[in-house]
Symmetry: C2
Subunit: 354 residues, 2 copies
Amino acid sequence: MGPRHFDWRRLEELATNLLVRAGASEQHARTVAQSLVHADLRGIESHGLARLPIYLERINAGVIRLDSEPKVIMQEGATALIDGDNHLGAVVGMAALDQAISLARQMGVGFVGVRHSNHFGSCSYYAEQAIERGQILLVLSNAPEAMAPTGGIRPFFGTNPVAVGIPAGKQPPFLLDMATSVAARGKIALAEKRGESIPADWAIDSEGNPTTSPQAALAGSLLPIGGAKGYGLAMFIDILCGILTGAACGPGVRSLYDNLEHPQNIGHVFMAVDIERFWPLSVFQRRMDAYINEIKSVPRRAGIEEIMIPGEIERRNMESQKSKGITLATGIAKELERLCAEIGLDLRDACIEE
Amino acid sequence: MGPRHFDWRRLEELATNLLVRAGASEQHARTVAQSLVHADLRGIESHGLARLPIYLERINAGVIRLDSEPKVIMQEGATALIDGDNHLGAVVGMAALDQAISLARQMGVGFVGVRHSNHFGSCSYYAEQAIERGQILLVLSNAPEAMAPTGGIRPFFGTNPVAVGIPAGKQPPFLLDMATSVAARGKIALAEKRGESIPADWAIDSEGNPTTSPQAALAGSLLPIGGAKGYGLAMFIDILCGILTGAACGPGVRSLYDNLEHPQNIGHVFMAVDIERFWPLSVFQRRMDAYINEIKSVPRRAGIEEIMIPGEIERRNMESQKSKGITLATGIAKELERLCAEIGLDLRDACIEE
């Protein structure tokens, strides 16, 4: 089966069914399925259905636990702490999002820490929903070790992502979703597969020297953006998500793939700000539109057709893939096909065209 | 007069006197003097007493206003909005810091927006004080145009800085203070003076091409860290500091140097988090110490003696310059000498050694 176009709603149904058959409630299964298909729709394959097989494997291994619910274990003023009880990451993430927005509506700002969570998909899933609710959202998460501190040569920090969602009016909203590493590990693995070299600022080898060899990079450490600046950003995110919340931090965060004995114990921070404390939403949206127009009017480098706002390319991908279908890579489609067949479903039912 | 060593307390006195003679109250003058000397002590000359002459010039030009006080114009729940009334930036910044910490103590988190502010020195001044008060602080500020959006070729965003302060126990605290550009404009100006070339990832020329010529870079745009990631971070900071607070944003923020007709109308955001909602401070500090120890134990690249925590080098500079004296560059010392002489003071009184 080669790469094909799939209807996003039918993929969501299939993923929901697979998770329900693994033991998740209908509602939890749908949340996770939505978060994965959301990433595929935006063109962020690395955080899409490609992750479903390992989620199912971790459920079967008992390190993602479905027998309880994320709990608010502290709520004082405008802060809260959620214990995810090692549930599916997107289920925990949605609980944190709802709590942060609820606090922001009451208090103007909501700061929610999360411990005992899992890989929660792409941060943009949460930022997008905050935007739809007219709120500003900042999401931070730590992640398994991948980057050394500046001067070090062994991975310590994850590629700890930060995402921000801010609504606009007629213009596309601001949706930044970035890892604090220059490049994703997946991109280096892809270069290795293709026998290509990588730019010298992506990674260091196991002795700390810059390398263009994907093999040497995979045995070494990813580099943070901006040198010591990105190291600082990754550490800041790790302290808030790990030390402050009581989740794991540094190399204590377990791998999604290489460790099926222990829960990951990832930590997150969700912070929402209620725009309406500062402006009526419609006024803020008009100000954002004027501002975005101004940015788009900046003179461009030869060959650049349009200046894009963070998240705008992914938004266009989403529109196009919603109508034309999601293209899944052959490897991913094959694995989904196998998983579907195991429970008597057929991935081909989700195809738009042969 | 060549470069000399100066006693930091006496420099602070002189700077306070200069500001008082320009019309500032004793208390306001001392705040600004402290913020500038703090930067010099940390070895961040660009944000130290080198800025005092232009502050005085802007007071004389009436675009920094001393006839009122920063006002809290909105306070609801855990959010507040401060109008700086175009007062001295550090005076406005301190009002915002106090408000953010006061809200954090009441509500667990405090989110304070600021409009009508000025250049407020180095963000680390505020982060350091939050650390001393056992609070986590995030400071954001926008700044005059210097960086183009990705794909653009004209400066639009400032080098919009972000700073974070987080207390530790026996280990040095975490104090990240970074611009979102790869390099500071001042570094490029210095390379020009010295006839040196600059790395190709610092700036683009006026047609958008990477350049190693400091002249071409100064006529072009600074580059953000991590390409489009840094563009996103700078835009995020501008939206929060400018659009949300009602301060200027983008190229609307006026230059500190090139515009003596209009107030800068810089915007800031100060966000404090009360650690004690999550852990007794002493427990958090022990956890930070263990974590920092772990980072410092990561194997190092050949030639690296120690892995440093963000802010640690500057902390050591401070300790050393507090005891051995601050070294001021000849140009800065000369200008201070001239300003002191105008009001009958002698900079040489602050010298530690001839």
